[in-house]
Amino acid sequence: MPIVELQNIRKVYDTKVAVEGLTLTIEPGTMFGLLGPNGSGKTSSIRMMIGMTVPDSGSVQLFGKPFARNLLHRVGYLPEERGLYKKMKVLDQLIFLGQLHGLDETTARKRSLDWCERMEITEAIDKKTEELSKGMQQKIQFIAALLHEPDLIIMDEPFSGLDPVNAELLMKTLIDLRKEGKAILFSTHRMDQVEKLCDAIAIIFQGKLVLSGGMREVKSRYPRNRVQMQFTGGDAFLQHPGIAEARNFSGMAEIKLTSPEAAQPLLAAAMASGAQISRFEVMEPTLEEIFIETVKGTPEFIAAGGKIHA
């Protein structure tokens, strides 16, 4: 039974089409990446998923049932734009949000304390939100989304504004939750961040789905034609006929080959040229490269001037 099933949903705001014919399925125990540049319709899709707005057409199913508000007690949502009551004490705030998600006060209090310990912010419990650092507020928001042990966790740009240590802590927590069988939906424009995390992805662009599937399956559709190498000495070998595109950052080259088979001849040619090679790695394309590869032919991409903040 899929956790989320969107069937051909569409949403138009006045004249702007926010989402057009989006279909996707999220299975339990997966980390699902909803990817796309800014303004491509990620947040609009999420809002329809949790009933904040109603799609103009198409259907939304949660936990195998048509959308109903009582199913929302099984969903945890971390919105992209974070917000907490500034003047309210952290613990009161967490209890209030927990109660709104259907917990009773005692349970909400106990879980809040446990989570604050787990997230290493116990000292913040008695403070008002406005006295806390941004990173701490973010963690509180994160806890608020998880307090009621939701089966579907929706995280809109969860790592923005977090330092690496805290981002790591969050990531670890999410991986633990996935092990418990929860489904996690990541929405982000930072495709590099989710590359290692996600089991399945959907990339949307201008409100339309351009690519979706399991991470491995998507990647295997594209040839392993990327090479990264580190070297000292002359870079004359970068003129090799097997190279489609190369960028040399003084001793560190990123190369796109014409075909995966050109890798070995290139290595041989480089060694023959006398360069000292310390690293030579054949890689699969990154999600970002795949994304640009996919959309570069579309009229929307050309209209956007070929520039996308991805």
């Binding site: 707005t53 734009e81 917000g83």
Partner: protein, 411 residues
């Protein structure tokens, strides 16, 4: 329902626990009491120490003016100096007195006898301050009284007869003289209470909506709470804060009045009877809910305090209108203006209550007015939540009127 309760409870507790609530609760009665006491003190002392001069050759007339100027109660008797017209330097002396910085003289009156006997003398008033209309009016009244007195005496009446004829009249309405004043006071009291509480707490509903918009907390809330629940919770929660405060004030006032009337030995009615007290509470709550709902709609339409400030006038206009007609309603509670205004929802709470206190509306009309109010509150809340729901999700864009109308159609 559970969500409404949770939202309302949070609003209530957060506000009541805030220091500002305590400060307002103590400070407002102090300031109001101070202001009322100050005005009462000043008006009691008004007229005392009035000092005028009369320049005339007729000493009897001057002393008549003196008698007329002193009012019936015999307190704050004004000083009246009398100078003969024949004194050639008198005008320079008086003008110097008027110009002097610390002079107490408020002005002088020159009485020039008529050329032909039996004609009125001519009067000239030279005030210290041109805008002192109160003294001027008192002098004019005194002259008229003095002239009458003079005429009556010359036509053969005795001084005692004239005194009794010209004595001030106490007009008592038969039987209920006490309650009339109290009724008017309670109508005015309701008006000021409502005006203040709506201005303060009604706007707080709008403000708390805007606060949630700017802090973006609404995104988290809307993931479980329906906009209507959120809005209703806010109106009820913030409303309860206002009602608590008013309840504290009224209790304090009642205790103070009881204590004061016990110690000072006078009888004070704030509300004439229990039925009218119940109506006071009912109309107050209905009016308050109505205005809070309008405030909620304003909050839903705007994105910042500044924008809200501009919209605030829409909340205050009906109240200002009430303040313009309330005197007419009190003096003529069953007249056309009062009748119409007690069925228009925005003026109904105040005007209908006033009519019940001072007039004689039939029971059906009162019930109709209450029903109209309840219906209007539901419609306004429904509209507000529609605007809120769509508006909040289109944050960042100020809607225009056609857009708001279109939003009402959105699901």
């Amino acid at each position: 329902m559970h969500n409404i309760w949770l939202v309302a409870r949070r609003e209530y507790l957060e506000r009541v626990r805030a220091k500002s609530f305590l400060i307002m609760t103590i400070l407002i009665p102090l300031l109001m009491g101070g202001a009322i006491g100050g005005v009462a003190f000043m008006s009691r002392n008004m007229g005392s120490g009035q000092h005028i001069a009369v320049v005339t050759d007729n000493p009897q007339f001057a002393s008549d003016i003196q008698t007329e100027m002193s009012d019936s109660k015999g307190t704050n008797k004004p000083t009246v100096d009398i100078y003969p017209l024949s004194n050639p330097t008198i005008f320079t002396t008086l003008n110097d007195q008027l110009a002097a910085k610390h002079a107490t003289l408020d002005g002088y009156l020159i009485v020039t006898p008529a050329v032909t006997t039996g004609q009125r003398p001519t009067f000239q008033w030279v005030p210290k301050v041109e805008s002192d209309v109160i003294t001027r009016a008192r002098v004019a009244d005194a002259i008229r009284g003095a002239l009458t007195r003079e005429k009556l005496i010359t036509s053969g009446m005795s001084t005692a007869q004239v005194d009794s004829l010209l004595a001030p009249i106490e007009l008592n309405s038969k039987g209920k003289s006490d309650h009339a004043g109290a009724a008017v006071a309670s109508a005015y009291g309701m008006f000021f209470l409502m005006y203040f509480v709506i201005l303060f707490y009604g706007m707080n509903v709008a403000r708390s909506i805007i606060e949630e918009k700017t802090s973006r907390i609404f995104e988290v809330l809307l993931a479980t709470v329906k906009p209507t629940e959120m809005l209703a919770g806010k109106v009820i929660g913030v409303g309860a804060v206002g009602l608590s405060q008013v309840a504290i004030w009224i209790t304090l006032a009642l205790v103070a009045v009881k204590y004061m009337s016990a110690s000072a030995g006078f009888d004070m009615h704030i509300l004439p009877n229990a039925g009218q007290s119940a109506l006071f509470i009912l109309f107050f709550i209905l009016g308050y809910l109505l205005y809070s709902s309008i405030a909620a709609a304003l909050g839903a339409m705007t994105n910042s305090e500044q924008e809200l400030q501009q919209m605030q006038i829409f909340l205050m206009l009906p109240l200002i209108f009430c303040s313009m007609i309330i005197f007419q309603v009190i003096t003529n509670p069953d007249g056309t203006v009062a009748k119409w205004a007690s069925f228009v929802p925005f003026t109904a709470p105040l005007i209908m209550y006033t009519r019940v206190i001072v007039g004689h509306p039939d029971a059906l009309a009162v019930v109709a007015s209450i029903v109209i109010l309840i219906l209007t509150i539901s419609v306004v809340l429904w509209l507000a939540s529609r605007i809120y729901r769509v508006g909040i999700l289109m944050y960042g864009k100020k809607p225009n009127l056609p857009e708001i109308l279109r939003w009402l159609k959105y699901s």
